[in-house]
Structure formats: C-alpha cells, structure tokens
Amino acid sequence: MAAPAPSPASPLHGPALHESAERHVTGEALYVDDLPAPPRMLHAQVVTSPVAHGRIRRLDLERARQAPGVLAVFSAADIPGENNVGPVVHDEPVLAVDGLHFHGQSVALVVGDSPASCRRGAGLVDLEVEPLPALLSMDAAIEAGSFLGAPHEISRGEVDGALAFAPLRFSGEVRSGAQDHFYLETQVSLAVPEEGAALKVYCSTQHPTEVQHLVAAALGWGSHQVTVEVPRMGGGFGGKETQAAPFAVLAGLAAVKLGRPVKLWLNRDQDMAQTGKRHPFLARFDAGFDHEGHLLALDARLYSDGGWATDLSRAIMDRALFHLDNAYYVPACRFVGQVCRTNLPSNTAFRGFGGPQGMLVMEEVLNRAAERLGLDPAEVRARNFYADAPRHETPYGQVVTDNRLPRLRTELLAESRYAERRAAIDAWNRASTHLKRGIGFQPVKFGISFTTSFLNQAAALVLMYADGSVQLSHGGTEMGQGLHTKMRVLCEHELGVTADRVRVMNTATDKVPNTSATAASSGADLNGQAVVEACTTLRERLRPVAVQLLELPADAAAEVTFRANAAHARGRSVPFTQLARAAYLRQVPLSAPGFYRTPGIHYDPKAGRGKPFHYFAYGAAVVEVELSGLTGEHRVTAVDILHDAGRSLVPNLDRGQVEGAFIQGLGWLTAEEVLFGADGRLLTHSPDTYKIPSLGDAPEHFQVRLLENAAQEGVVHGSKAVGEPPFMLALGVVTALRHAVAAFGQPGREVQLGIPCTPESVLRAVVAARVR
C-alpha cells in the first residue's frame, strides 16, 4: 500500500495556476448569477424591517400582490416547515413572525417577473410597526444584561495573587470594530424545482450541506429532496458559512410554492445591510508584568457583539479565548468571554473567527507594557514566547509542540534587518517634524481544527472513466482560495494523471453528503486527506490489473508506479486509456469514496481544558509605516513576512493566501469602519462609504516567504492550513503605528490609539501624545 515514490512528474509542492485562472481572465468562469436563466425563471426581493427593534402591528401583502409583474408575496405564515435557520441555536427566523430585531431583518419576500417588478411590489407591502427601544451597542447590552448564552471561562493559576504582587500592573480596555466581508460577489441563490417533490439550489455558499438541510427543513421535506450545488464563490471569507442559508431558503420556498425557478440575488446595499459582519469585541483587562517585560498574569473579560441572533457567535468567542494567549505563555490567567445580544445584524464567521479579536487584546497588552517599560516590543514578545516545560502549556491545557516561532523570529528579524531599521527610524524621527515612522514585529500562533470537534471530518469521491480520465468531487467549496487546485494536484500526484485528465466538479450535496463548512482554514487538510484516501483505494484496485497488462508476475504489483497517465513497472508501461478500460472489462469498480476524520482532538468547555487543535500554524511579520502628524494619514511602506505553511502543497497559492489575508487584516485595523445610525440603520452600506484596501494600500515592498524544511507531521503531505493565520500578521501594523505615534511625545508613555486606526484615530493619538 506504499504511496507512489516522489517523481519529478508530480506537481505536488510546485507552482500551479489556479484551476479556473484562464476562465477568470476571459470572463468564462460562471458564478451563480451568471448561470443561464432556466425557462420561466422569476426574481425575488426581500422586504425588511424599518426599525431596529419592534413588533409587527400589521402586515398587509394584498396591494403588493396586485402590483404588475408580481406573482406572489410570502410571509412567515407561508413557510410550511421550520421557519428557522439558526445553525446552532434555533433563534433565527427566516421571516419575522411578530418581533423585529434589527433594521434590515427579513419580513416578507416579493416574487416577480423582473427585479424591477419585485422592487415596485416591495414598495407596496404594507408594514405597520410598533417601535421598541433598541440595544445598539455592546455597552448598552452589558448594562441591560442582554446576552446570548452563558460566559465561557478558561483559567489557570492564582491570578489575583499574581496581579497583586506584579512589579508593573495596569488595566485597560481594548475595542475592535466590525468588518464587512465585502466579498465581490454578493449573496445569491437560484432554486430550480425538479421532477416530483424535489429542488435543486445553486448557491454561493461555503456550507452546501447546511443549506440543503435548512431548505429541506423549511419545506418540511427530507434532505434527500434537496440538492445544493456550488459552482464557485466570488469570495466568502466566512460570510457565506451560515449567512447564505436564509436567502437560499427564501428562494427555495418561492420556487416550490410557485413551481418555477426563482433567483434571489442581493445587490451590494441589501447585502451589506442584511448580513452579519466580523464581531466587534470589547475587552477589559488587568495585567501584571515584571520589569523585564515578562507577563506574569492576565485577567481579561471579553465581550463580543453577537447581533440579534446566536449564529456562530459562541464558537467565535471560544476561538477568541483560545487565541488570547497568541504565542505567549501566561503563567496565571483568567479569560472570560460572553456574547452580547444587540439589535444589529447577526454577526458571523469572518476569517480568523474570533482569533484576531482575541489576539489583538494580548498584543495591545504587550505593546502598552513595552511602552511603559521603555522596551522594544519585539523583545517583549520574544521573552514571552512559549518554550520548554514548564512554559509550554496553553491556558486550556494543550501542550505547544513543535513551536516554530523562535526559528521564524530569528530568520525574519535577520533578513528584514529589524534592529538596524528600528534604530534608523528613531534617528529619522528625531529629525522630522510632521512625519514619523514606526516598525512592528508580529508573531502569530493559530490553532488548526474546528473547535467543535466532530466537524473535523471530510469526504471525497473519485470517479475514473473507462478512458482513464477522472472526475474529482470533494466536500470543500471553492471561494478563490485555490482548494480545487490543491485537490486536483493531490489527485494528479496520487493517481499519476495529468491536470488535463482531471476535472474538479462543482461541490454538490449529491456527490458528497454531510460535509462540514469550508471554514476554519481546514479545507485542504480535511478534504485533502479524503482525496488521498479515495485515490489510494482506486490505485490499489488498478495495481493487479496493471500487472496483468504489463505481463508481469503478481508479486510485481507493489512495484507499480503511476505517473504521466500510465502505470509503470520493471521498465514496462501501460497507458491509463488501456488500463482503465481493462479494469472496466474485468469488472473492477472505478469509483471510490474517501473519508477522513482528525484524530485525537477534544475539548471540555465546562472545565475549559482539552486539546482542541490538531496542530498550530505559525507566522511572523515585520511591518514599517509612516504617518503624518498633520492629518493622521498613514501608509504601510514595507512588509516582510515569513510564514509557516508546512510543506506547502502549492506554494504560489499559499503565498496568495498570505498576501491577501494580510491586506484584509490591514483593512480591518486601519480603514474599514462599520457605522450605524442612531436608529440602527447601517450607514456604511456600499463601497462609497465603506473602504476596503485598494491597490495603493498594498506596500511597495511586500516580501512573503514560506518557511522552508517545515513539513508538518500528521497533515496531508506535510502541509499546513493557511487560510486564516496570516490575517493576524497585520496586527503588526498597529504596533508600528504606535511606535510612530509615540515619536510625537515623551518616551515611557502609553500610546492612546483607537482601532480602526483611521487617519482621524491616528491624529487623535498624535494629539494625545503631544499633550502628555
């Protein structure tokens, strides 16, 4: 059963074009909204709540139903099955029943022959509302005691005692803001009735299985009656993990009720107003250090803004708590987290899944300590790294093995000339009145696995046809991260087929059932193992056939290698075109499923102890910025990253993940501001007012290197997950900005810099630094 010997023909660990790259650049790649409209297709539009909190007094759909071009208007009463899409806690009605819980909540669905008909019809829906007082901030929710679920606590040691005796003790607050996913492709579903009581839903979702289950449940059907297919997504970033489902359910409901295909596509403003974002966090902490900058104790209470419904908020808070420590050993700690319930859109998964928000707290604590102690923040970080026992165990009891941060730090600080540049910057700053520069070092440790342990499973299905060509299905979805490319490369490697003979199929629930979301950076790890297993099964079935065709004795089977669309042994070869046909004629099955589950992970939330992660991914960045003390404008001038992607399956794709994640993190920390009006209405509902990074925000010096000789044990071909971890490398921007702001004031003072570090926030910090 040995895997094929590494061969120069294998594309594994080498560069590969994204499998859709040519179709991307020619415009041929089809997204859900691009699919040819099925005959008699209808459009739909959601009617939403005009208040952040209230009760429906009257909902009269008659006038809207009479509008020209409108075929139907549906409300909660029209849902035959379960009117709920709450993925964990069932607290999220698809259409409001009587209570209205945020400005933009779905109340009714207008279905018509064109988007314009739907729009006009929506304007005629008669909705009378009794407004109620709304909770529009975490502070308000905390005061009102409005929470989603109980607090989660992870503790170790004698925190209060350690704080009392700490040579440096300070407390503070850290706030981080929401972030819209701003996937370029907005939410969209196309539901097509099929023969009998059955439905096909084309959906832009990271979680086709959940969409399938929820559509079926809303219709009162069995899951077998619904098939969900994902061609590809125009970006997901977590925003299509749970929040594609309500729109898919609505499209499905309308399609079944009317017996016609129905497309529900949200325009940008609708999408931004209705869907949840990255959770804002509020942390209050009390920290103790010694004079050398060793963290002795940290007491931190975290709140997140869950919005109006639970969604994944509790798991996101869990991950924030799991990443409060980031890369550092905290001898005594008490980490408590609780999710606030407010009258805002239900916040949801977003790359990092609470990790960035938790980690930010620790990085702020370390920066403030370094500023107070007059130490280089990079040095303070290194002094607190996890190390050998007894400084080797996380607050939740998982041992940090194979810690790559000391190595990453040494290599990166040397190649980026950190110390030299920091000294040069300090000198430059002394000579500059209005402009100041800063530099920051950011290490990242990120736990890989769904923290809900059972989700760590995946399956694949490999079909070989009698001509030796292959169709590959797996449970993961393609949202741009290159998962399909990685899976194809694994298939090429395992079966010895070439890229042109493997087709990665659209993700579909009738190919691979009961999948987990493509999330938690786990897509390649989990599905990759399943693909390898499926290919292995198929390959082993082909060996005896190959030996027969090669006219070799049966004991030569173990020597057969597969590459370049042929089987080879003892100097003889047979092409797959013949081999597959021969297997078919010999009645050998040419389809094979594969399955994988991550071994050995578990977590007990009551005790706050366990081994929730299969392993940790690591990375480090050095970031340089320049800012203006006149306007607060700033620019990231240079970024050097060394990232641990294990033995990368496809290095150019992983590099793309690192670069893209960094810039997305930069946006979260410096520019992207989600703002609501006093009535709870989203003010920043389009790119006119919501500013994600543009090309000029990418640093001209943007060096990304993947750590070499870094194979990871127990993961597919030595690789490591890479989707989320590099997002947090952008935290180095804040450290660099603080360094630059501090140059306007006296040393030894804590910088007062709020996040996101917009020009206004930076100028405020400069003013504060000058005054004090």
């Binding site: 859709s20 790259a21 991307h24 650049v25 020619t26 415009g27 790649a29 997204y31 729009r119 701003f182 370029l184 492709e185 590809r232 997504m233 970006g235 997901g236 970033f237 325009n267 940008r268 430059w428 000579a431 500059s432 009145t433 209005h434 402009l435 741009g480 320049e626 800012l627 203006s628 006149l630 306007t631 607060g632 404008e633 620019r635 793309g656 670069e659 893209g660 960094f662 810039i663 997305q664 520019a671 501001e673 703002l675 003010l683 389009s686 790119p687 006119d688 007012t689 500013k691 994600i692 543009s694 090309l695 000029g696 925000d697 990418a698 001209e700 020009p759 206004e760 100028l763 405020r764």
Partner: protein
C-alpha cells in the same frame, strides 16, 4: 432614426425600444447574456464592471479608456466602440493583459478579475505611463478582496505601456468615434445629444427642466441606486465647443467644461501643480475617464474636489446661454448646498484660470479615509501672494467638506493680509477657521477632526512652499501635505 448604434467587441449593434436609462452593464448581462462583466456595487466604486470604450483623448486621437459600465447609459455609447472581457482573446491566444494577470496568480475568486483585465487592457495601450504612481492610479479603481494586490500590480508592471502591436493597436487608428448626435426615445423616456450649441439651446428652450449630463458618473447613481426614471436627459457630450484646454493670449488658461478629467489631469502634469495634485486622488481612472470639469462643479457638492482648486486659483466660470456668455468669479458660482448661479437654459461652458503672478504660492490637499477612490473628509487649496518683503498681499484659502458649499475662509484670509508669511501668520489664519466654518460630524469624520485638519493643512502649506512655490506630490507619499522627513533630514 430612433436607434442606438455602437460597436460591441467589433460587432455593429442597432438598438431600439430599450430604455435610454439602461446601463451598459445591465444590457451586457441581461440582454446579451455576456456575464463576464460583473456587478459589484452599481456605483463606480469597485471596478468589477470595467469595460473599455474608444474615446478621443485630449489631443483628439482615439484612445482606449477604461470605464465603469454600471454608470454608462446606452445612449452615451452612440457611435463608439466598446470592448468587454469576452472580446479580448484572439482565437486561443489570450490578450497580454489576460496572460499577465493569469501568470502572476492575479486571480483568486476571480470575480473582480474581468474588471482588472479591462483596466490593464487600457494601460497596455497607454503611451504616457512613465512614473510608478501612474500604474497605481490606473488600477486603483478595481477593488480586489482576495489577492492583496501584489500580483495585480506585478501584472501591471509587466504589460502597462507595452503597446503591443496587435489587432487592437491597428484597430485604434481607424476607430475614431463618430458624431454622437442623437435624439432617442423609448416609452416615456428620451435621451438627446445635441451636436451643436444651437441645437442645445433649442432643446433647452422646449424643455427648461431637462437634466444635463455628460459622463454620468454622478447622475447615473440616481438611476442605479435610487431607481429614478428621468423622462428627458440631455447630454452635452456631443458638443466639441465645450471640450479641450487652450492657452489664451492674455495668459489665461481656458478649460472646457466638457473636458474629461483624465485629459485635464494629463494636461496639468507639470503645468498646474494644484490641479494635478487634486486630480491624482480624484476618483479612479474609470471615473476620471468619464467625469468632466463641468459635472464636478455643477453638482455643487460641498465635497466636489475641483471647486477648492478653482476658488484658490481665482478662476472665472464661463456661463453660456442662447443670449451669449457671462463670466462669474468662482466664489460667486456656489450659492448654497447643491445650488449654483446657473440660470434656466444656461450651461457652464468653461473655466478660465488667470496666469499666476510671480510670488504666488499655491497647493492643494485632499484628506480622506482611504487615499484612493474616496470622498474627501476635508479638501483644500491655498493661494498666497507675497511681495518682495515677504508679506502677504493676497490670499485665497479655499476648503471643501467644511461648509454647505465649497468656500473660502474669509476671516482667515483677512487675518494674514499684510503679515509676513511665517508660522505666526499660519497660526493667525488657523485661529480664524473656527469663525469661518462650523463643519459637520458624519461617517467620514468628526467636526473636531475636520477643523483640526483644516488648521494643520495651513501649516503643511506653509512648510511645503518654503522650498517650492507650487509643489507637486512625490511618489510614494504618505500624506496629502508631504512635508518633513526626508526633506528635513
């Protein structure tokens, strides 16, 4: 004849019966089933819908211009050539812009990619690309949420300005747009493009309430976002008399109100630093390729970025009607929030800039949350004239984003007249700004921030103009007032 006529990927189209407010994006996707061009925002802020149109450049030569198809109404294409992502491949051979992006791993989810390809396509055939900032400026109108832009910039470096000698280069020579004149109607809606001023006066005579449009970068939002269904739009795009930039005999510069900002920008490079500076971050290339001087001024938005520049430069606005022309000083043009001095049946024909006297110091500034493609939080343009003794003899300190209209800071100006131009004078002017303006707090910035920035920009202006009378923007730069640092050390 009541028909729209244009080339789509070299295919001649004649359309009738389709609403004149139909955007090119919707037409491509809904009518042609060409789905390569994507809708990301329907407001010209993301670039996913970018296509390329052949326009006449400032020298009257045909040039490829990347534009947002979400803001282009079909009648605006009359007589023109349009290329979409579907039209670039020649047989099996990808266009260099496609190949470069693909090979650089410049697509991840691929949704922004067709737009990026089209922006790169325009850049391929540009002969004026010399400095690195120009490449960023050519691509900043295309938002990408996946790649972090490094590979997109790399693809741009490879192909921008490469001027491949291919069918598109050959086609360009013969592709001068035809006359745009048009009187098109469908249902209750009409779109009229007069070919001459006298035709325009006739149309306005009959329809005094008609809405005027050129590029549509502002007006189209009424249609795509607010679903307006105007019954009559009158386009000034066919009026050659309103286009171009000329130096008059007395040293005045005449800028036609219908001139596209891309052409103003390339004219201004090296000729008019404050205008050049402001246009660097005035929208994206796609916007500047359609937006005009007149459009930006006539919306009279408090954050229209050209207004402060023209206020500071002492511009005269030329207002034309059938009765003839009249000239109005820039500061008398903006009457109130979104209200101008234009009378009924009158259009803005041109802006005239007087020659700057020796001893004038001038610069412009734009502060926004994001440097590129963002609306100003505060914009400003300053002009001070010094005598031989270094005292201020004239001052025009103009701001956007500080009041209901773009406006001069009269008290601040008065405070520095006669003073030596030094930091004390800067402080005297800055202290008056609180009397001149009571800015608003909104999602772009607080009143406190706006006032502080307004004050600090005066300091930046003072410091910057110690070295050069009319400073340009260095590249790369961090701040709109790029002073300190390297210059000092």
């Amino acid at each position: 004849m009541n028909a729209l006529r244009f080339f789509l990927n070299d295919k001649w189209l004649e359309l009738s019966g389709i609403a004149p407010t139909t955007t090119l994006l919707r037409y491509l996707r809904d009518n042609q089933r060409m789905t390569g061009t994507k809708e990301g925002c329907a407001e010209g802020d993301c670039g996913a819908c970018t296509v390329v149109v052949v326009e006449e450049d400032g020298q009257g030569r045909p040039a490829y211009r990347a534009v947002n198809s979400c803001l282009l109404l079909l009648p605006m294409l009359q007589g023109k050539r349009v290329y979409t992502v579907e039209g670039l491949r020649t047989g099996d051979v990808l266009h260099p812009s496609q190949a470069a992006l693909m090979e650089a791993s410049g697509s991840q989810c691929g949704y922004c990619t067709p737009g990026v390809v089209m922006a790169l396509f325009e850049a391929c055939y540009r002969e004026d690309l010399r400095e690195p900032w120009q490449l960023d400026a050519a691509l900043c109108g295309n938002l990408c949420r996946c790649t972090g832009y490094r590979p997109i910039r790399e693809a741009g470096q490879k192909v921008a300005g490469s001027c491949p000698q291919d069918r598109f280069a050959a086609g360009l020579a013969a592709a001068a747009p035809g006359p745009m004149g048009l009187a098109y109607s469908a249902g209750p809606q009409r779109f009229v493009t007069p070919n001459s001023l006298s035709e325009l006066w006739d149309v306005l005579e009959a329809n005094p309430a008609a809405r005027l449009v050129v590029g549509g970068t502002d007006l189209s939002l009424d249609i795509t976002k607010r679903y307006a269904e105007p019954t009559l739009l009158v386009s000034l795009e066919g009026l050659k008399a309103l286009r171009g930039i000329r130096d008059l005999e007395d040293g005045t510069t005449w800028i036609g109100a219908g001139t596209f900002l891309t052409d103003v920008e390339s004219w201004s490079c090296g000729r008019n630093a404050p205008l050049e500076r402001m246009l660097r971050y005035f929208g994206a290339r796609q916007i500047k390729n359609r937006a005009t001087v007149g459009g930006n001024l006539c919306t009279a938005s408090p954050i229209g970025d050209l207004a402060p520049v023209f206020l500071a430069l002492g511009a005269r606005f030329v207002l034309a009607s059938r009765a003839g022309e009249r000239r109005v000083p820039a500061e008398e043009f903006f009457l109130a929030y979104r209200k101008t001095a234009l009378g009924p049946r009158e259009v803005l024909a041109a802006v005239e800039l007087p020659r700057l006297p020796a001893g004038a110091r001038v610069a412009s500034y734009k502060v926004s949350k994001r440097r590129e493609l963002d609306i100003s939080t505060v914009s400003a343009a300053f002009y001070v004239e010094l005598n031989d003794a270094g005292r201020v003899t004239a001052a025009r300190l103009a701001y956007g984003g500080m009041a209901a209209t773009p406006a001069r800071a009269r008290s601040a100006e008065a405070a520095i007249l006669g003073l030596p131009w030094n930091l004390e004078a800067v402080a005297a002017a800055a202290d008056e700004l609180g009397h001149d303006f009571t800015p608003l707090s909104d999602h772009r910035g607080s009143a406190v921030y706006r006032l502080l920035v307004a004050r600090n920009l005066l300091r930046g202006f003072h410091d910057e103009t110690q070295v050069t009378a009319a400073p340009r923007l260095p590249h790369p730069h961090t701040a709109t007032a790029q002073v300190g640092g390297a210059q000092e050390s």
